[in-house]
């Protein structure tokens, strides 16, 4: 038995449930639209005895092999907004996060809440990326206008983007951005050398690697259509050493499942931009036919804490 948590219609969860069905892997859905119907029993002194129930089903976690966590912020679920009393649901989530973060709970969790926090600091991830041998862009994060101007002078082209996990569109520094530069005084901004090459999204699932090449003429391929540009996705093979570095990087961040953004740069470097702890893999699977959801189902069904 594995547990799938989130909104059932959301593509990553939907593809995984379909993969489980195709493979004959038993699963239970924790439908977040019904989150107020669930309760969690968690004893930190006996985590193996923990259980979850929704009135109809009681799941002893000791009997479950794995859990896929794809929940959205509980307070943004429509039923939460419509409810007058969310205190019990809030208390349930507090217990749930504590339970899922307890390393003594004997099941595979993709990914535990606390290890996903690294997504909130891209430069923190960059330090881990470099430590594992992948290249990183030359980066200047600063609240000092003079220092940033020196950095801009050293590079032909520079982009800026958010430091945190807040999704932002990567933009090149242009005349308009330079006008706004004095505003960085109270909030550091991340500037990076602009690297050109081919984008590759790597999904790590346990010890497996799925690499997808993205051919696009947009600066940020995720927003290609908004820029009136296009993206083409296709499966590709990574050199063994790069694939191994991706696996090691993901596991060093305690992420057995991760979406790693690489660029095979024109200058020969393999540059890594970030590691997503809850990747929307369905976008890549649906465009390429790569069976990432099948790998996830197999991984979760194996059981035992990774």
């Amino acid at each position: 038995m594995i547990i799938l948590m989130g909104i059932p219609s959301e593509p990553p969860l939907r593809l995984l449930s379909e993969a489980c069905a195709a493979k004959g892997i038993e699963y239970t859905l924790f439908n977040q639209r019904n989150q107020d119907g669930w309760s969690v029993e968690y004893d930190p002194f006996d985590p193996a005895a923990s259980a979850m129930s929704n009135g109809e089903t009681r799941l002893r976690l000791a009997d479950c092999a794995g859990l896929y966590l794809r929940t959205m912020e509980p307070t943004r679920v429509p039923e939460w907004v419509a409810s007058h009393d969310n205190a019990p649901t809030q208390a349930m989530f507090l217990q749930l996060w504590r339970l899922l973060d307890d390393e003594a709970v004997p099941m595979r969790i993709l990914n535990a809440p606390h290890v996903q926090m690294s997504n909130n600091s891209k430069p923190y991830q960059a330090l881990a990326i470099r430590a594992h041998g992948l290249d990183i862009p030359e980066t200047c994060i600063s609240s000092n206008e003079a220092t940033v101007r020196e950095f801009l002078d050293r590079h032909d082209a520079v982009i800026y983007k958010s430091i945190s996990g807040t999704r932002s569109i990567v933009k090149r520094v242009d005349a308009k951005a330079l006008e706004a530069l004095p505003k960085i005084r109270f909030c550091p901004v991340q500037f990076q050398e602009c690297i050109t090459g081919v984008n590759v999204r790597v999904h790590v699932v346990g010890q497996q690697v799925f690499a997808t090449r993205i051919l696009s003429d947009a600066v940020d391929y995720r927003y290609a259509t908004q820029e009136g540009k296009s993206s083409v996705l296709e499966p590709c093979e990574l050199p063994d050493d790069i694939a191994q570095q991706c696996i090691e990087l993901a596991h060093s961040l305690h992420l057995p499942f991760a979406g790693i953004d690489l660029m095979l740069a024109d200058d020969g470097r393999t540059v890594c931009f970030e590691v997503n702890p809850s990747p929307g893999y369905s976008y890549y699977e649906q465009h390429t036919g790569q069976r990432i959801s099948y790998a996830l189902a197999d991984y979760l069904a194996c059981g035992g804490r990774a």
């Binding site: 973060d101 980066t139 430091i163």
Partner: protein
Amino acid sequence: MRCATNEAMILVLAHHHDAEADWLLKALRRHGAAVLFLCPEALGVDYAVTLSLRNDGQHASEFAFFDATIGRITSDRISYAVNRLGFIDPLVWRSAQEGERTYASSEINAFFPALIESLRCRIDSPVLHGALWVDSGFALRWAARLRAHGVAVHRSMMGEPAEASEMLMASDPTCLRRWLWFEREVFAPSGQPPVPIDMARVLRMLAPRQTLEIVCVQGTDPSDLQLLHVSRSPALSCYGQSFVRALTTHAKGLFDDHPDGHPERAALAPAV
């Protein structure tokens, strides 16, 4: 600030409202140590900061203070960092529109973990999983570990995190017993009465990798000792000069060995 070029400098990262950090700064200065205090709430008011991430691994940071008597300080001057940061509420953004305030807060809270992680010196309380704060189960997991070593756990620790904090605040200070784990040593307040469990031995067995403070409440029965609080931001003033001496010793020892790498590095490991 007193800081000769080759002097060991201790970096204290703390919030503006942190009275324990304030005590530490004063104690270190009285002790003659060179100290750099970095308060995230004062970013843009007192100083500008830069973190440079380089592909050759030579990451560096620089603090440019607007007070010319302090000037620019680079991270290679720092021999030891005390990290007391939790979630940063950037005061200067309070009057901004909500969207801008939220974005700035996220960015600043994302920046400081990287800044701390990039430091080459020893850090008493390293960043865990890229965040300045710990997850809601952090104290509970420590409670479970301590319980396995015979320490009873107060029921307030099982509820909302705020419940244990309120219990701590409401407790009679004379009934509290505390221990600080710092750099593989256990410290206790001077004159603390003995307790029915050898907490120093327990902590040495568990050997936390980060600075940790354990606080228990002592009941009227001598055998009634219950864990009340586990924290990464200790009440340092309780440990007095013995802690300050240990900190400065570590800072100086590590700084003196700097050219050959970290003194705790395995002797056969190559310096990088």
